[in-house]
């Protein structure tokens, strides 16, 4: 019993090391982060202006609702990009800095390594996305009187489990292909968003893409977030979107870990677990 407690403590300590490291990096690169935030803000504003543009060209739409709808899509894109980006670039980053061998030879379980990176991504992603939401909402004077932000946070947290799991699957790519892995990871992220209805309802997609939409966690996350923020739906009425997220998350995390484990074995077999240059 005591042995198990010591092991658990060490595992959690390892996880906290990953979060601690990423916090230090964030602090040291704070100006880059600010520049990145401004870039994302500009990007989000561009998308949110689309609704106003349509209204001006004669389309009969509820501008407030359409702007909110697009804004949520842009925010989820940005949030997902943050979580995926951290996981996909985890290996590449360590290669550039030259720390990859030290990290992979430490007694840190890969589960804690990947979960630590994912958890940091979720925490930072939520703070950043909330800041982005506030700035854009103020800019457009968005009226969201019914919004249930608590339910939206629950949806985002539940969806994050699947996002971390899928991120783990893509994070192995730079390990097995140092030259092309990161790019392939971003392709996977892009494909996920195309089929998930980021700026449109999935019903406009061709049938085969709708089939893919059904297994994408982003589909359920986007739908539930829109219902909670625009229509004020609570957690209970969002259950129809939450349970698929839980199921996908329960499959994605162990699958992601197993894929990474196999990728790591491949990298160790072929000598790819080393720094660049």
């Amino acid at each position: 019993m005591r042995g198990a407690a010591v092991t658990l403590r060490s595992e959690l300590m390892g996880l906290s090391g990953i979060v601690e490291r990423n916090t230090y990096i964030l602090r040291r690169y704070i100006w880059w982060e600010l520049a990145w935030f401004v870039w994302t803000l500009a990007n989000t504003l561009t998308i949110a202006f689309i609704a106003k543009g349509f209204a001006q060209s004669g389309a009969t739409i509820d501008v407030n609702k359409a702007t909110s709808w697009l804004l949520i899509g842009a925010l989820v894109w940005s949030y997902l990009g943050m979580v995926f980006g951290l996981l996909v670039e985890m290996v590449q980053w360590e290669r550039w800095e030259g720390t990859i061998e030290h990290t992979f030879m430490a007694p840190l379980s890969r589960t804690m390594h990947l979960l630590g990176t994912g958890i940091f991504g979720v925490l930072y992603g939520i703070v950043r996305t909330a800041a982005l939401f506030v700035v854009v909402a103020l800019f457009f004077h968005l009226q969201l009187p019914h919004a249930d932000y608590g339910a939206a946070l629950v949806v985002l947290l539940v969806a994050s489990i699947s996002f971390i799991g899928i991120g783990m699957m893509t994070s192995v790519l730079p390990l097995i292909s140092p030259e092309k892995g990161v790019q392939l990871g971003y392709i996977a992220q892009g494909l996920l968003l195309v089929v998930s209805g980021v700026y449109y309802d999935v019903s406009v997609l061709p049938g085969w893409m709708q089939a893919l939409a059904r297994i994408s966690p982003a589909t359920y996350a986007l739908r539930a977030l829109r219902k909670s923020i625009i229509d004020g739906a609570g957690v209970r009425s969002l259950w129809g979107d939450i349970w698929p997220l839980l199921v996908i998350g329960a499959i994605a995390i162990p699958l992601g870990l197993e894929i990474f484990r196999r990728g790591e074995r491949y990298a160790k077999r072929h000598g790819k677990l080393k720094r660049s240059g």
Partner: protein
Amino acid sequence: MLPASAFSHSSAVPDAPAVEVFELRKEFRRREGLHRRHITALKPVTFAIERGECVAILGQNGSGKSTLVRLLSTLLLEDGGTARVFGHDVFREPRRVQRLINRVSVEASFFKRLSAIENLSYAARFYGLRRRETSTEIPRILERVGFPLERATGPMEDLSRGMQQKVALARALLTSPILLLLDEPTTGLDPRSKLEVQEFIREVRRVHDATVLLCTHDLAEAEELAGRVGILHHGDLLCLAPAADVKRRYRAETLEQAFFAATGTALHEEEEASE
């Protein structure tokens, strides 16, 4: 005293040698146009290192030294043979082995924008060390390796190579390894930093009874620090014996002459990189 890592070193199997390598072999595949070429980085190699011993492996670039260290560090999987560290199978029980070892390599390998304290702090967490332990131990160890504490909070990229290497030594020692793998730890250092690092290696062995595997192409360093010296050439371990025996075996007056006699090349001639 060094801090006790959260992992007990009692996990080392009693009376087992520090390192036991038997017929260990490693190949890499290299793509050349449409073809793949197999390159033997390590031919079947067999040797053992006793607890508390310091063994130096001499070899040119590409001779297989780093491959050997990376195999023992659990960063590579073998293509044949076995390797055990304090009785634990390196390839079947990597986590147990990882708790007993640490490594200092030719590149200091840090997040360059982070400070020495930040780099050491997060790395210690991977070995189960708590914040309250590292907050006192990190400055103490940095001081012991002769690192000026006033530089400990600035970015690593502003430090000289010698200073970075001292931080690398501090990182390795912070986790109290009982097997220290040193892969050319003094290459590229100025003479003074080199002497400081060498003195520290002696101290670690004297005070903490650590076992050291030192891969180097510095013959004087090998002779000075190691009880036995091995010559690795084209992935083949040609000999492993006390320096005096190596010289006698090759009828040489110096290690350099012995190396030349054993390999037909001088130590600093470049070989084709093995990986």
